[in-house]
Subunit: 334 residues, 2 copies
């Protein structure tokens, strides 16, 4: 680690934190020194990175001296409390929480979509919501071709979007089911095993969840077009990993299915899996653990000439979180 | 069983067949004689009904003499082959398959919606697709209030919609996961445990599945309005029982959320479960084993003035199949 950058991972023991370490290794990100931060409870643990055991330190405001990239994934509260201090200490903060996403001073970046925004940062760059990233990856090539006017988006979100504890909760509920024991909910508002929850994140006054409002607001900010309308329903499903979104999109002009397929296929980070004759379409078990977003079930909306339906799936811990954050850091060092 | 009707259940050993027997008992349907039919493989078995053991007979064209109600749920092929013979023998066939649903001579009936259609039958009445029933139960009160123009429908469908074997397949895959063994698909095109499949039924030339086309065509026929546009995506989820549908509906005139809630609450067979402050909304685990359809997450579409979003869940073996069929028979004997 002699050449390179001092990188801090805040929330190192969480589901995204763990994925950040994997991807820093995989992509050979030039790490000279790795600093790991987590809550008091996890401090003192050691995590393996490359050939070394790296200690987990407790998070403090003055702990960021010398840090060049601070990858935050410890919840919006921690980000609000500590990201400004990290930025003042000279780090570029890439924040996976919702804390700064809608701050007009903070770029909200998907590197394939709006890399130029990252370069205008003032110390903090926000990593978008995981479901939003997966969806906008497919909207962007359509939007560049002929403006996206309105999207009806329905998500099928994996439990790992809610963190490592949520994965354990689904496992625990499935084991209770196997043993014929009562299934109890802890982190989730209701049973998630063999059930679906039409609630992701908390409810707001207007009847939408915070997750749904992220799909509306973040889509506009990332695509740089406040006119885009999004009508979202965010639903949790008993899947461990990878979010799916069923997208109905109305465009300025009609887009033939063949054109949409070509646009998707040409877009970096997007793979077309769309051969019904071979029962081929994107699924969570295909996307899990991979870097691309997968799009399929591309078809003309039979109810409206200038509309298409499609289905997009991405690993929300990788492209939806950790990978996207590291791609932002890579943009800055290029 | 001295007073009443001779009732035949065709496909008695399937998931819907089993539910038909339960509901005939529960509702004290006036059964004088019960005849059970199934494939050769199941013939000879005996099934319990009330206090008796009823033998399962092999299905033959001349087996329907004296039968007054023949409740078919053995697949479209069996219905095509045997339902006309049953009708010729004098039975009223209530057919749960897709065989006759779009036949202009055959009424397609949801008793709360178009009971009058049932009375015009010519021997065969079709029971609609399970997902369609759950959705139209919520569309009907809106359509009566101000015409439904367009629906974007995304389903979250339980495995039991694909029959008893599909339930066993999900169980088997979950047990394989528990034991760390490889998960293999048999009836479903791909793994369903901890996955979602954007495919229900087979693909058609236009890129839609047959299930999706049912949602378009059957909705129009049941609501008696060929102008209604439906843009569907049908998805299988690892849930044992009860289908959920996320509905985005555009109406002729705007419908305030409070009005929609009142319309839903007043409609027979529909229950409103919609209190976000108490984390209350419909879920498969609430609907499973019950007769009502449940609607919640009722909210203004922020992207369009004359549109609403809502979420409706119903037990597809009961209201989506067996219960609806028996309600049709009850209509006829009233």
């Amino acid at each position: 680690m002699s050449q390179g950058y001092t990188v801090a991972v805040v929330g190192a023991t969480g589901a995204v934190g763990e994925t950040l370490l994997q991807i820093l290794e995989e992509r050979k990100f030039p790490v000279r020194t790795l600093r790991l931060f987590a809550s008091e409870r996890s401090a003192g643990r050691r995590l393996r990175f490359l050939e070394e055991e790296v200690p987990v330190e407790p998070l403090t405001a003055d702990g960021f001296r010398g840090v060049e990239f601070a990858l935050f994934s410890a919840g919006a509260g921690r980000s609000k409390d500590f990201a400004p201090a990290a930025a003042r200490a000279g780090a570029v903060v890439i924040d996976n929480s919702s804390a700064f996403r809608m701050d007009p001073e903070v770029p909200l970046v998907v590197p394939e979509i709006n890399p130029e925004a990252a370069l205008r940062h003032k110390g903090i760059i926000a990593n978008p919501n995981c479901t939003t990233i997966v969806m906008v990856m497919a909207l962007k090539p359509l939007h560049d071709h002929t403006r996206v006017k309105r999207v009806v988006a329905n998500s099928y979100q994996a439990v790992s979007g809610a963190g490592a504890k949520a994965i354990a909760e689904l496992e625990r509920q499935v084991m209770a089911w196997v043993k014929g024991e009562p299934i109890t909910a802890e982190g989730f508002p209701h049973q998630i095993a063999f059930n679906v929850l039409p609630q992701v994140d908390v409810f707001l006054e207007n009847g939408y969840t915070r997750e749904e409002m992220k799909l509306i607001n973040e889509t506009r900010k990332i695509l740089g077009d406040e006119r885009i309308q999004v009508s979202p329903t965010a639903v949790r499903v008993p899947v461990f990993r990878a979010h799916s979104v069923a997208v109905n999109v109305e465009t300025e002009r009609p887009v033939p299915v063949a054109t949409a397929r070509d646009l998707f296929a040409a877009f970096p980070g997007l793979k077309v899996l769309d051969d019904p004759s071979r029962l081929e379409y994107p699924m969570p078990i295909i996307a899990a653990g991979t870097d691309d977003c997968y799009v399929g079930r591309i078809r003309q909306d039979l109810s409206r000439e200038n509309a298409l339906n499609f289905w997009v799936v991405g690993d929300q811990l990788r492209k939806g979180a950790a990978l996207n954050a590291i791609q932002i850091a890579e943009l800055l060092i290029r």
